[in-house]
Structures are given as C-alpha cells and as structure tokens.
C-alpha cells in the first residue's frame, strides 16, 4: 500500500464524516464542493474537511483510493458514499439523513 493510501485510510477511519473538497467549508473553490458543504450543513452534522488543493499527494491519491474521478467525495464511517450529485440525490430523498442516523453520526454541537 502506498503512503497516500495509508494516509487516506487513516483520515477516513479517524473521523465519522469526511469530505474531501476543493477549498474549505468557509471558502470552497468549486461549485460542486460548495454544494457538498451546504448539504452536510443542512444535515446538521459535524464533519472533517480535507482541502485537496493543499496536498498534491492526497489530491491524486484520493481518486485511486476511492476509484472515483472527481472531487468532492464523501466518506461516512470509513465508507465511500459518493460525490456531490449522489449526495444531492440522497439528501433530497432523505436517504442521506437516514444513513447518518443509522451510522450514529454525532450532530453538530
């Protein structure tokens, strides 16, 4: 396993909810990342964000790690959930909220 994969495994296992994105929740650098942040904020949960623009190893590594070509990417309890389109569909149908409840993810304090 490469260094990038080890780092990524650690990140997704150390936090309940991780969003790999371009920019930060306060200053997203891409419309898709911005949408992903908005969805998680609407769900009212705490999440860890990783700005892939600040780390080339993560930026390249995450695509192979998830076998997914684009950013943002959402992980819940170490499992890849999808990109922003899937997040939006799941949010609109209530599946995302259900998943977060089932996985017992902490609400934002």
């Amino acid at each position: 396993m490469s260094d990038a994969n080890e780092r990524l495994s650690r990140i997704v296992n150390d936090h309940d909810v991780v969003l790999f994105m371009k920019g930060t929740p306060l200053f997203p650098q891409c419309g898709f990342s911005s949408r992903a942040v908005a969805i998680l904020e609407h769900c009212g949960i705490d999440f860890e964000s990783v700005d892939v623009l600040q780390d080339m190893e993560i930026r390249q590594g995450i695509k192979a790690f998830s076998d997914w070509p684009t950013i943002p990417q959402l992980y819940v309890k170490g499992e890849f959930v999808g990109g922003s389109d899937i997040m939006m569909e799941m949010y609109e149908s209530g599946e995302l909220q259900q998943l977060l409840t089932e996985k017992d993810v902490a609400k934002a304090s």
Partner: protein, 77 residues
C-alpha cells in the same frame, strides 16, 4: 477543455447501448453539463456503481477534459 455534448452522448452510448441520455449544456460554454442516463445496465446496482459505469464509458475524461458533468442515473421503468 471543452467537449461537445454529442461526443459525451456517443461515448456513453458506445458503452451502454440501451441508454436513454439527456444532456443539458448548463452554461452554454460546452464545458458545464448535466446528464441524465437511464439504462437497464444499472439494475440491481447502487448509485456509486451506476455512476462508475458512466465514468468508465467516458474513459478517464471525467475529472480531466470534462470538468463539470452533473450526473443522475436511473433504471428504466
């Protein structure tokens, strides 16, 4: 890095011949698209696997040549 909608549609059709594909050029700049793809190949698969089939059809262009493609997938009724 623009890519014509017809080319996106042709690539998806080549991999998923039964697919019904609707593509919208969101910004009119040939670079920001939304695609809705309906195919029986998606049956029994989760959303992540369905999207991966479309990304595979696009042969590595997703996230590179093709920056912005909003994607929704469905199984035929």
């Amino acid at each position: 890095m623009a890519m014509p909608a017809a080319e996106i549609e042709a690539l998806i059709k080549a991999a998923l011949p039964d697919a019904e594909i609707e593509i919208r050029d969101l910004a009119g700049d040939g670079d920001h698209y939304a695609a809705h793809v309906v195919s029986s190949a998606f049956a029994g698969k989760g959303r992540v696997q369905q999207h991966k089939l479309v990304y595979e059809a696009l042969g590595g262009r997703m996230g590179g040549e093709l920056h912005a493609l909003q994607l929704t997938t469905a199984v035929p009724n």
